[in-house]
Symmetry: C2
Subunit: 405 residues, 2 copies
């Protein structure tokens, strides 16, 4: 077990204990946003055979002059499968997407012809290859279509549909439990009593885990049910869990409660206490294949801990890249505090048209929620950083979740 | 009805015919990614009353010197509601999050005290205000928490949960039908015959509409069921629909099929034919409150049409901003064709650490799917643009869906 370690060291320990999870077949119509477990290769050329790109006439070799005529030998439909070839001076009519006969040199659009009694007169000069979709012009047989780790977006799903995949092997979604340990934090369904607060970390973590590809199978209020009941509940579900995330009440009266809880769960602590502000009282453990994380109970610190530790672990379980992009940005409003230990300041990053600006969001106390609104980046201040002045350059970690541009 | 108009004109027409839709109450645990219909204001201060930020002792006015002692007059618990005030030299023990009595000057952490027989000795000097979470320090009563049009992310949901909202008014999700008109494009469930192709636009549009906040209530294969059946099907559902998106078979044999279909649906055509490559044969109509769009059947052109017309309409129906960010980027590989009309080239944009690069993706024919893979931006080439050389600056429209950084 490592204690009081650097962020990078903790991340490395997690990396060493996260492997891509097993796959499961899902129907294509439920596969959007899922992650491919294995690469997908093209089973055949697309298009499979040369097709017409327009409604018109497929021409064989011929005089190829304006005003020259071809002999119309057949009318092809969309469901025609021509077994003959075009010879010199021959033409067939063909619809858009229709399969072209062997020997087609070009397809001339209907509106650029005059057809009369089995003769097609060409009104415009047409270059060889025009309006032909060659076999394999979009994708070739056996080529890599989508690498493993691809998150299936609209384009990937369209491609798989075009190739007639009716199901696809995706990585299982990590089954996750969220465990709230604080004794005075109660869930939405219970009546608030004096001194109690409504839980916000449970809904926050559920939204984050769902956003990042996990599935929250249960939210446990361990501070209310009592520790013994919580431990037996977790014991009974541990085989089904890939991840458990504890928050609140992890550190009380100067004592780390997680030692005892991890001991009771027979989990091996990987690290605890990271040189980080906010949220230094964080850690991770392993029980079988389940990764257990504990995060600060303070909402902003909880979100910082989640993004730095749980997010990359979930991405690795899904077989995806985990690195945040780092960007140098101009801090428009500064930050008055010295940072004795490494600090993650919640910020809003934007592109000005000329460069990157970042604003230190209001409400930077770990206990406040405010700095999470509009937050799309962390300003990463190394230990010993003096106060930041307005206009100073800072190093920013960008969240890859699409609210920057 | 406008014909052969500019992209901006078509967008303006759509803007004029899109209003934010009605709201519906949804339980908070189903509200993630939904859009707020009305602004939400803080019903009370957060925290409601001054609280302790640590486990320790709340001190009244006093000698405030290292080694000075305070008289311990009570032990507060998390559920205590102190109705008394602290007088000179008095202290109470208090847990993290416990409500502080009136007259509290600061809270000293337990580990910085020596408590003995109702006396608390201070071992470290402590500044007034230390470890006190003031009432309203995070949010003040009546302040705007979240404006209407906010897409509820993890932070917004956490804030609403903390304020004990158990439901929230969100904009209805636009009910959408996808209609495939091509006669040879068949859905996943049917057996492929000669000349038929598996539908990819249906799955593509369904994924896009779902991604952007709409809900696809039906996918209709009008080319297979026949036009009459399709029309009567659409007629019967028109009152429930907010959007219908037609694709494929909208333009055949040089004729626009949509005139007849819109006539049969008694819909008023708003515009058709836009100066745009790919996907000029696109248009929109209005029937009651339902917006009807027709998009190219070529997959890349269909995606271009969707992003330029349907996407902003859905966003407006949801009460959200619709403008794409424009970025100037260096085109790393160039584009060999002259653009006679305005052209949207599918590209992949990335930040190099010093500036923006964009790559013209391979497979730019409208009939190909390939250029949609890894596409996160359109290179916007005005009519008359000569071929683009590698290294040239281009104007790029960025998709706000999170795959740029």
């Amino acid at each position: 077990m490592f204690s009081n370690i650097s962020l990078e060291h903790a991340r490395q320990i997690l990396t060493d204990h996260c492997d891509t999870m097993a796959g499961e077949m899902v129907p294509l119509n439920q596969a959007v946003n899922r992650v491919l477990r294995k690469p997908v290769y093209a089973p055949y050329h697309m298009p499979l055979r040369a097709q017409s790109a327009v409604d018109g006439y497929a021409l064989g070799e011929g005089p190829d002059k304006i005003g020259s005529s071809y002999k119309l030998i057949a009318e092809l439909k969309l469901d025609s499968f021509p077994c003959f070839g075009l010879e010199y001076g021959q033409a067939v009519s063909v619809p858009t997407g229709g399969i072209l006969p062997e020997g087609t040199v070009a397809v001339v659009p209907g509106e650029k012809t005059l057809a009369h009694q089995q003769q097609v007169k060409i009104l415009e000069k047409i270059k060889p290859g025009t309006n032909i979709k060659e076999a394999g012009e979009d994708f070739c047989r056996d080529e890599l279509l989508l690498p493993s780790g691809t998150k299936l977006d609209y384009a990937a799903v369209a491609l798989l549909a075009a190739y007639d995949f009716y199901q696809v092997e995706t990585v299982r979604r990590p089954e996750t439990a969220v465990v709230c340990l604080a004794e005075n934090i109660i869930c939405q369904e219970m009546k608030l009593q004096n001194g109690q607060m409504r839980d916000s970390n449970g809904p926050m973590l559920s939204a984050l885990i769902d956003r990042d590809g996990g599935v929250v199978s249960s939210v446990i209020y361990g501070g209310i049910t009592g520790r013994d009941k919580m431990i037996s509940q977790l014991h009974s579900m541990m085989n089904q869990l890939d991840v458990a995330v504890f928050t609140g009440g992890t550190f009380e009266n100067g004592e780390n409660n997680m030692d005892a809880i991890m001991h009771a769960l027979e989990a091996r602590i990987l690290y605890q206490s990271v040189e980080l502000q906010p949220g230094s009282h964080t850690g991770a453990a392993l029980k079988g294949n389940c990764l257990l994380f504990w995060l600060s109970g303070n909402p902003s610190a909880c979100a910082v801990n989640y993004h730095l530790f749980v997010y990359p672990a979930i991405k690795r379980l899904l077989g995806q890249q985990t690195e945040y992009q780092r960007i140098n940005a101009c801090c428009v409003n500064g930050f008055a505090k010295k940072s004795n230990s490494r600090r993650m300041v919640r910020g809003r990053l934007w592109w000005t048209g000329k460069g990157w600006n970042v604003e230190v969001l209001p409400g930077q106390k770990p206990s406040m929620l405010r700095s999470l609104l509009y937050c799309n980046a962390f300003i990463d201040l190394p230990a010993g950083t003096p106060p930041i002045e307005a206009g100073q350059e800072v190093d920013v970690l960008v969240f890859p979740v699409g609210n920057v541009l």
